[in-house]
Symmetry: C2
Subunit: 610 residues, 2 copies
């Protein structure tokens, strides 16, 4: 009397299933076959047709008008109800084929129709063209995910992940190791979620990455590790950040920077969906200094030019007061970007917007110079410019008649990020005016290397902090400077940038305990006791090692050109960190808090609200 | 001046690496080749040999006594230091081959030796034969993982997971979807960790499984979902449980119980390591009633017999008071198990141990009867037994001279678990006496089906609870009983058992909102408002669906015959939930708690300790 597994088609989406075919696969060669289809009612047409949908597509089902019982069922059917249809495939009558529909040459003549679940009136229609608000999409995510786009995004993500795993496991001998997410709090880990334990006062912490574990696995001799690691970051409310996210986490022993970079290029080439076009290899690689110099950003969008131009030389003997004063200050510089055809494209409100950015974000004035047809410059500044100034300016920037020059003069540390930001703002403005500046089908990967290892700590003169994290090894030639001039040390860190977004970052790590101790204790002034297990591990035969982490959510969102990473995550949180479907996070009774020895400290104003 | 990825061997464990070969791969055919090996010093022998180790094996390196500088380095070398050796492969001199070593036909004549990291004196030796305490292993997990066994366990886990993914993705069209771990608290979810948010009084919860999300993905039309899901369970201190664990989580639309079972059998057959032998297919399948009747357990170890035998019939007219009284009570029963050759194998202290289990765990007395060579029974009971009683007993149980009969008489609900437990205890005792009862290389998979859908709630007469979870659908024939006699309803639940351990469980789910509402509200008396999003989803065109979750840690620990699941997890917690390496969970400053609006409620006695 025991139900035993039925023998079933061994492979494919109909294996071990009740259906004989999916809704997307029937073709004229199936004509005459008896089929059993399961799906959702997409459309009801002319009291005659049911258009059945599943993830794979649509099939037209014809209900014969002669069959009273079928017609009765059809009359009661609502869209998005779930039905089973058995019937026979047939070619559509000539002239009634639908060439827009992969199954448009056939239809299924229903012999039976069974309603498996009736659908209520939904808060929005499941049609790709129906616009719905973000909040409604999130509240009814299980409906939103029925859209073609979300189905494609989730499936692409799954396929890409699988390809990446194949590349790492099968081609390069990596071991998939799961590391804990309940861990010890990192000192100063202000962005780590806490998890109360049942021991009074003791908390786990949800780590921002498996950094310590991946290094410990190298010490453990695992040799090559990877993991699709769930990571956590509590940043409060930030647009397009998620409190939990996934990184493709990779670490290798006995490798140099070039090796990790080659591996990642191979990984992306192998897993890249063919429909997105090929990837040029190897990826271009520039130094941090070059990136800052040319693009004013450490994650430049290289899909377009408009590089920063240093025009300080032109004004080295200038009489113009604000330029002179800028050059006089420490690391003072005058720089420009040239907006091709900007004179025609940009309205005065665009220029105002650019100036406003310079003012509000950087506290700087921006000078705008338009190149007249005859090659002279139009600008409040121009009456102070000598002909050789103009000639120099046009020469250095390559500006031609009709172009706009945006000029800023201040310290290098400001002028570069400023013009870097304006460069992107100009690109958006130009595209809003119809210019195809950035090929929307292009994928520009770029490596940035030779980052500084340490930066001056903001607000604490004389103190240093790691540019990335304290485990990054110095570039070999700079290693001795760690003890003498730490600010001059370049780190063996590499960032991977795609279309101006950082999609990965990694480094060769420090593998000697003494060097790591020096960095933590003498340079960063950290309490080393909390990392004693890592220091001990480095002292226990740690191999040279390095790795990288790729931000999977961001990478996929760029691949599918989604406006937000929420579009490539099945159940994302709102920007306030809420799950709008279930209302998480939610209130918890005092009773439930007791085992964890914690209580809520209600802010005075809020006490009554609750 | 930018370092660009070097061209490198495109595949295998030496791709993009500094080494030319791993330490396990050199063979006589490599003789004459220049190689670069990287690894750990496993042994130093006779001031002449360095045995180099990596995950793949060992290679003997010969240091020529003529090379002063090499000999100097050799003299300073410590075991477990990390070195680079360049040199030439050569066949070992005849007679010096080591047939126990895969690389034992060759050695590498060192031309250079570079110490990349010196190893301190370690807390224990990295030799497979060195015994170390569990606590020490956990504190220095990065050293413990260097053992051959742990390396094999982690690699087997990675390979098995990859095979499972291939089967699901490539062969059956499953989509790997990541679901959130920061979720809403389940009502009564006493085992869920809490995660404070920055909003006063609001908490996320780490779910015990993605149950709601997997069902919502079916409503979303994802069709076939899987995930290697990190799950969380706060059970305080329990031996061999981990606060975080991994389950292979699977859900499908348009499938019946038999389909899910066939899929899982195919999954295990496809991913099963060949070196463990083939799996018989399909797996045997018995009902819950049969399992309880024959084995007194819903996860029977079927590697050996010794089934429970109901001998109530033999004693239906007995005069023996305690048997009579047992049969007189509701569902009273007399049952036995027969221990082959038990008379010889079991000492009186063994029998005492069995009786003690019956007494302390079940509050019952156990009668032990030995079958004498002439076929009579030896027991305090025997003087009350008629010849027909004895004949009946021997006939029903099949006991033969030398065997032992363990007899218990009480209600079915007690006698079955009691003898089920004693059956396992007997097996251990017999094996301790040298009997090969259970083939240590055997893997007995078994399905258990037709579980009751509801059970009486312990301590609350008249109340019911779900045997598994409230989303399980009733067996079709029993569906109407949900409204009338819920205790009689069998659920479409299936458990997968391996060698007496539950390694998976799943069910066909309720897909109609009205039925789900009835179960939650009328039968289980739950507050349905907290599951309103799920009920709404079921009302929005939910397809029939079902799935399963396999406990990956447990499954792998059984496959590698590890004594604990800690042996197949890279960084497990102690049974108290501690990370002994980093000392997580740890104290957190009040300052760090402030953003979460919580404070620690110190138990009175502990306040000073801190």
């Amino acid at each position: 009397n025991h139900k035993r597994p039925a023998s079933s088609s061994p492979m494919g989406p109909c294996s071990v299933s009740l259906r004989s075919h999916t809704c997307g696969e029937l073709r004229p060669e199936h004509a005459g076959e008896k089929v059993a289809l399961y799906g959702w009612v997409q459309y009801l047409r002319q009291d005659l047709f049911v258009i059945l949908r599943d993830y794979s597509g649509l099939t037209q089902v014809l209900i014969s008008q002669d069959d009273g019982s079928l017609n009765e069922k059809l009359g009661e059917l609502t869209v998005e109800s779930v039905v089973k249809v058995t019937g026979t495939v047939r070619r559509r009558p000539e002239g009634q084929e639908n060439t827009n529909m992969p199954t448009g040459d056939i239809e299924v003549l229903a012999e039976n129709l069974e309603v498996l679940n009736t659908c209520r009136k939904l808060p929005f229609e499941i049609k790709d063209f129906v616009k719905k608000s973000e909040a409604l999409r999130m509240q009814y995510r299980y409906l939103d995910l029925r859209s073609t786009r979300m189905q494609q995004n989730l499936r692409l993500r799954s396929q890409l992940s699988m390809r990446m795993r194949e590349y790492l496991c099968h081609q390069h001998g990596f071991v998939d190791v799961e590391t804990p997410t309940l861990f010890k709090r990192t000192p100063g880990g202000a962005k780590e979620f806490l998890v109360p334990s049942r021991e009074p006062g003791r908390f786990y912490s949800l780590p921002q990455s498996p950094q310590q574990f991946k290094q410990l696995l190298m010490v453990a001799g695992v040799d090559r590790y990877f993991q699709f690691a769930r990571c956590y970051r509590d940043e409060g409310s930030k647009p397009d950040r998620q409190p939990e996210f996934t990184q493709v986490d990779i670490e290798m022993s006995f490798v140099e920077q070039a090796g990790v970079m080659a591996l990642v290029e191979g990984l992306l080439r192998y897993s890249w969906p063919p429909e997105l076009g090929g990837l040029s290899q190897p990826f271009p690689c520039i130094t941090y200094s070059e990136a800052m110099r040319d693009y004013g950003s450490d994650k430049p969008d290289t899909r377009f030019h408009m590089k920063l131009v240093d025009i300080s030389e032109v004004f080295v003997n200038t009489k113009i007061e604000f330029l002179k004063s800028a050059l006089g200050q420490s690391e003072g510089s005058i720089q420009a970007i040239c907006v091709p055809d900007g004179g025609r494209l940009f309205k005065s409100k665009d220029l105002e917007a650019l100036k406003e950015t310079a003012r509000s974000v950087f506290g700087q004035e921006l000078s705008v110079l338009a190149v007249r047809p005859e090659g002279t410059l139009k600008s409040p500044l121009s009456k102070h410019l000598s002909p050789s100034d103009t000639e120099g300016l046009l020469g250095e920037t390559g500006a031609r008649p009709g172009d706009l020059l945006l000029v800023s003069a201040c310290s290098l540390h400001t002028v570069r990020p400023l013009l870097g930001k304006l460069r992107l703002q100009c690109a958006e403005l130009m595209e809003a005016r119809g210019v195809t500046l950035r090929d929307p089908t292009a994928f520009h990967f770029l490596w940035i290397v030779d980052f500084p290892l340490f930066l001056p700590k903001e607000g604490e003169p004389g103190s240093l902090e790691s540019a990335h994290h304290p485990f990054t090894a110095p570039v070999a030639q700079d290693a001795h400077l760690v003890y003498t001039e730490p600010l001059q040390v370049r780190g063996q860190h590499y960032d991977l940038v795609l279309n101006g977004c950082e999609v990965g970052g990694g480094s060769i790590r420090i593998h000697k305990a003494a060097e790591q101790l020096h960095v933590l204790k003498n340079i960063l002034k950290e309490d080393v006791s909390v990392l004693s297990h890592l220091l001990e591990a480095l002292d226990s035969g740690a191999p040279p090692h390095g790795g990288i982490a790729l931000g999977l959510d961001r990478l996929i969102s760029l691949m599918v050109r989604a406006p937000s990473i929420r579009d490539v995550i099945a159940f994302p949180k709102s920007f306030r960190g809420h799950d709008l479907m279930s209302q998480a996070p939610d209130y918890v009774s005092e009773e439930d808090l007791k085992p964890y020895h914690i209580s809520v400290t209600w802010p005075p104003a809020k006490t009554e609200e609750k």
